[in-house]
Amino acid sequence: MALLEEFNKVAAVPGVAPEAPLLADKGIARARLANVVGTRAMGVVCVTATAVIALLVGALVVQGSEKALDWGFLTGAPQQFLEGGGIGPELFNSFYLLVITMLISVPLALGAAVFLTQYAPQGRVASAAKTAIETLSSLPSVVVGLFGMTVFVIGAGWGFSILSGACALTLFNLPILVRTIQQALESVPRSQRDAALALGLTRWEATWRVLLPSATPAIVTGVILSAGRVFGEAAALIYTAGQTAPVLDFSCLDLSSPTCPWNVFRPAETLAVHIWKINSEGVVPDLAAVSAGTAAVLLASLLVFNLLARFAGKLLEKRMTSS
C-alpha cells in the first residue's frame, strides 16, 4: 500500500508541472543499480568465455606452431619409435573421411528434412521422428563408435575401414544435419511456397526450385559447420576407421590395394584419433611436440571450416538474391 501511495504522490497531474524535481526515487535507483550490475555480470561471463578459448588456442599455437608450419611434419609419415614423425596420412585421411561422410550424410539429411518439413503428416509421424532425431543427437559418440563396430566393422564385415568410419560418422552427424536443414527450410516464409503453388507448380517443384534455393545459404553454412564437428571427432572412429594409418602411395590407383589412398576398405587413422593414440600408447620421444603440432593443425582446419562457412553462406546469399 505504501508503495502505491508513494507512487500516486509522484504521479503527474494533467496540465500541471510536477512539484518535485525530476530526480530518481528509491525504485528508480534500484532498477538502475540492477541494470548496471546485470550488464557488468554478463560482460564478465563473456570475457571469461573468450579468455578460456584464447588461452587454449594460444597454448596450442605456442606449442604446436613450430611443427604445424613444418612442411615435413605435414606431409611425412608417422614414426613408431623414432623422433621426427609426420602426420601426412592422417591429414589426408581426415579430409577423405570427411568427404565420404558428407557424401553419405548430406543427401540422407536433405531427404529427411524435406520429407519432415513438406510431406510428413504433422502429428504422430513428425513428432516421433523429431524425438528420434533429438535422442540420436545427444547420443555419446563413443556409443556411436561401438554401434558402428558391431554393425559395420563386424556385422557387414567391412573391417576397420574408411567406409565403416564414414557410416558411423553419418550416424553421429545426421541428427544435427537434419535439424539444421529443417530449420533452414522452415525459415523460408510460407508465402514463398504459396506463391509457387499458386503458379501451378507442384509441391515437388516448389520444394526443389523455390524453397531449397532460398534455404541454400543457411544449409551450406550448417553443412560446413557440421563438417567441422565430423573433422574433429575421435571416439566414433577409434572402433570403426581404426587406429592405423598405412603408408599411402598416391601413384597407386588400384582401389583394392591397402596403400591406395582412395581405397575405402583400408583402415584410416585421422588427426583426432592420432592425438588420442600417441598420447595414450605412443612411445616416440617427441610425443608432446607431435601431439601439440597435430592439435594445432586440427584447430587451424576447424578455423578454416568456420571461416569458409561464413564466407560461403554470404557469397551464396549474395548470388541468390543477385544484389
Partner: protein, 314 residues
C-alpha cells in the same frame, strides 16, 4: 487464342446441356502459354468475347461465367469458416470481396484456385465452376487449374531471384523455352503490371531490392506471365502506402480492360468503390449480399450490410 478460347467455352456450354462427346476437351499442358500470347487488342475485346461465346451456344439463355461457385462451404477441421457461398465472376470485371476480418472472404478466395487443398484439415464443399467446368470434384488437376487462375497475395512475396527470373520462372517450369519467347513474355507481363518502365534497365537485379509497391506489381506480373484469365487478389494493397495502392488499382483496372476476370479481397471500402464493378459482402462466414458496386454503396439491402458500411459493425 481467340479460337481456342471460344472452342473451350462452346464446349462447356454443350457440356452443360449434356451433349458431350467432343474429344477436344482441354488444351494440352505446356502448349497454351506459348500459343496464347495475345496482343493487347485481343485482350481488350475480352468482354465481347464472352458475349460471343455465350451466344455461340445453341441455348442462348445459358451464360457461362468465367468462374462461378455454388454453395461453397469451407471447413477447417470441424470449424465451418464459410457457409454456402454462391457467386459468379465474369471476364473483364472486377469483383470486390469485402467484410470484417475473419468473415471468410480470404478463405473463399483461396478456394477458387483450390489453394485450400494445401491446408491440412481443410475441406471445400460445393461446386466451383471454371468456364462451366466443375473443378472441385477431384477430376481437375489443381496445378493445371492454377495456370489459368492466378493469385496475388497480401504481402508482396517475390522469389529470391532476379526480377527477370521472378517473371520467367513459372512459364519456364510450364515448358516455355527459348530466350526470345521468354524475353517477350517477361516484357509483356511487366507491362501488364505497369512495371516495365521502372525495371527494364535492371531486370537482372534482385527483386528484393524493389520497393514494396513495385514488389507487389512484380507479383502481379509473375501471375500474369502464365496468361491466366482469372486473377485472384488477397488484400493486395494492405501492406502498401496510398501512392503504391493507387498504382496497383490502376493496374487492376487495366487488367480488367484487357478482359481479365479479377476477384479482389479488400478491407478498404473506398478501394472497393474505386476499383470494382461488383461487390460481395461477407459477414460471419456467410455471403450476405452481392450487387453492382454503385447500388451496393448507395442502397445496401441487407441490414448487416448497412451496419457495416456505416461503420456500426466490423
Amino acid at each position: 487464342m481467340n479460337v481456342m478460347n471460344r472452342n473451350r467455352r462452346q464446349l462447356t456450354v454443350l457440356d452443360l446441356l449434356g451433349r458431350s462427346g467432343d474429344t477436344r476437351t482441354r488444351t494440352p499442358r505446356g502448349a497454351r502459354t506459348h500459343e496464347s500470347k495475345p496482343d493487347v487488342q485481343d485482350r481488350t475485346n475480352g468482354s465481347d468475347r464472352s458475349v460471343q461465346a455465350w451466344t455461340n451456344g445453341s441455348d442462348r439463355s445459358v451464360h457461362v461465367h468465367t468462374l462461378a461457385t455454388k454453395d461453397v462451404s469451407v471447413l477447417y477441421g470441424d470449424h465451418r469458416a464459410l457457409q454456402g457461398a454462391s457467386l459468379a465472376f465474369d471476364a473483364g470485371t472486377v469483383t470486390a470481396l469485402i467484410g470484417p476480418s475473419g468473415c471468410g472472404k480470404s478463405t473463399y478466395l483461396r478456394s477458387l484456385n483450390l489453394m485450400n487443398r494445401e491446408v491440412p484439415g481443410c475441406t471445400v464443399e460445393g461446386s466451383i465452376l471454371y468456364h462451366g467446368q466443375e473443378v472441385n470434384d477431384g477430376s481437375v488437376d489443381s496445378f493445371a487449374l492454377r495456370r489459368h487462375v492466378g493469385m496475388v497475395f497480401q504481402q508482396p512475396n517475390p522469389f529470391r531471384m532476379s526480377i527477370y527470373d521472378n517473371v520467367a520462372f513459372a512459364p519456364k517450369r510450364h515448358g516455355v523455352k527459348g530466350k526470345q519467347d521468354l524475353d517477350e513474355l517477361v516484357e509483356k507481363s511487366l507491362r501488364d503490371a505497369a512495371l516495365w518502365d521502372e525495371v527494364k534497365d535492371k531486370l537482372a537485379t534482385s527483386a528484393l531490392a524493389l520497393s514494396g509497391g513495385q514488389q507487389q506489381r512484380l507479383c502481379i506480373a509473375r501471375a500474369m506471365a502464365l496468361r491466366p484469365d482469372v486473377l485472384l487478389m488477397d488484400e493486395p494493397c494492405s501492406a502498401l502506402d496510398p501512392i503504391a495502392t493507387l498504382a496497383i488499382e490502376d493496374t487492376v483496372r487495366s487488367l480488367a480492360a484487357q478482359g481479365i476476370c479479377v476477384a479482389m479481397v479488400t478491407h478498404n471500402m473506398q478501394q472497393a468503390a474505386r476499383v470494382s464493378d461488383k461487390c460481395a459482402f461477407f459477414y460471419l462466414g456467410e455471403l450476405v449480399e452481392t450487387a453492382p458496386t454503385q447500388g451496393f454503396f448507395d442502397n445496401p439491402r441487407d441490414p448487416r450490410t448497412q451496419d457495416y458500411l456505416s461503420g456500426r459493425v466490423g
